[in-house]
């Protein structure tokens, strides 16, 4: 459960920056929704850790689990705080977008064309992250979203992929989506 919390919190941070770079309220709302999932797991983990401490008569295991979970919960709170900027009435300051663009791990998006080699394959099949360094963190399909897609998520023509990764990977990623690069 701890690793699951860690993974959700990392997705939240990525989505929060994505919401900011694309000034997108739907993504920001998802961050708030994920925070509820984190909280549920946090309370559950606290309870289990304490029960275990009582049965085993050793408090330290529980202490460590609870402290780790508390930090992860605080990280997810920070993500919510970042996303909150997007949910205000005023557009985020343009330098926020620029600063994300220029950072070590940047965020980009591209639409998958029909003749892209990514079309009609799962993320696992194309092994995008290992081959290009770009991690798909969300997919927009018509009017709905898939947040935190897995290896089994299939990519369809017309999907808009949001990905994070190194600047060096961005161009190739966009060309793959557009069908201009045929080799991954």
């Amino acid at each position: 459960m701890l690793i699951e919390m860690k993974n959700i919190s990392e997705l939240m941070v990525d989505l929060a920056y994505s919401a900011l770079i694309f000034n997108n309220k739907e993504i920001a709302e998802e961050v708030k929704y994920l925070e509820e999932k984190i909280d549920e797991r946090y309370y559950q983990l606290q309870e289990e850790a304490i029960k275990q401490a009582i049965t085993e008569g050793n408090p330290y295991g529980a202490l460590i689990l609870i402290r780790l979970a508390t930090s992860i919960e605080a990280i997810s709170d920070s993500a919510v705080q970042i996303a909150d900027v997007v949910l205000r009435d005023i557009e985020p300051h343009p330098i926020l977008r620029e600063s994300i663009k220029e950072s070590d791990i940047t965020i980009t998006r591209a639409r998958v064309r029909k003749d892209s080699i990514l079309a009609n394959k799962t993320l696992g099949e194309v092994n995008l992250a290992s081959e290009t360094g770009m991690w798909v963190i969300a997919i927009k399909r018509e009017h709905s979203w898939i947040f935190g897609p897995t290896e089994n998520t299939k990519i369809f023509p017309g999907d808009i992929l949001l990905a994070k990764g190194p600047i060096e990977g961005v161009k190739h990623f966009i060309r793959l989506c557009k069908g201009l690069d045929k080799k991954i």
């Binding site: 990280i75 705080q81 970042i82």
Partner: protein, 190 residues
């Protein structure tokens, strides 16, 4: 505002690095890494302070002030994130007898942080991170290198890999497995 932008880039990079280093410190049971986390936490604190001052100076109208408040909020969030990450590394302050299983909590299949040792016969020895373009080619990012008793944190492109280096990497399982085989000299990088 150009200065504020540069500071925001720095704070975002550092707040992401500190999270990875904090987990790495726990996974490797490394007090050196925990110390670096503490140092980074201080740097991020300073960056936030500078961003606050520069941002306050830039406000002329109420609308501008509202947009600038968003910048303060993001900087502050990055700082809070860094503080939370640092608390993870500070778990190493507990006596070892009280936390013997701590690293094993993260030795799970879906954990993204791994350790790779570079052997003398590996094809990546004496090549720079930039030449190898490791992240875009393999999907794993080198977040720190342990060389002898010293550390290189968040290594730049011009850092050359040497035999005996221990690379702390973050990325896909496939990418890690590939890099590990290459580092052992069992497979060629190119």
């Amino acid at each position: 505002m150009e200065n504020v932008k540069d500071l925001l880039v720095e704070i975002k990079d550092k707040s992401e690095l500190i999270v990875d280093l904090a987990y790495s410190a726990v996974i490797l049971d490394s007090e050196d890494l925990a110390k670096e986390v503490e140092k980074l936490e201080g740097e991020i604190e300073e960056l936030t302070y500078k961003i606050r001052i520069l941002t306050m100076l830039a406000a002329n109208t109420p609308d501008e002030a509202e947009q600038l408040a968003g910048i303060l909020q993001v900087a502050d969030s990055a700082k809070n994130l860094a503080n939370a990450a640092a608390d993870i590394a500070y778990l190493l302050d507990l006596d070892i007898s009280e936390r013997p299983f701590l690293p094993s909590l993260f030795l799970k299949a879906d954990e993204k942080i791994h350790v790779v040792r570079v052997y003398p016969n590996s094809s990546i020895v004496n090549r720079t991170l930039g030449e190898l373009n490791i992240e875009a080619e393999s999907g794993v990012r080198v977040i720190a290198i342990k060389r002898g008793r010293s550390w290189i944190y968040d290594p730049e492109d011009n850092v050359r890999i040497k035999e005996g280096d221990i690379l702390i990497v973050r990325g896909t399982e496939d990418g890690y497995n590939f890099l590990d085989r290459v580092a052992r000299g069992e497979e060629n990088w190119d």
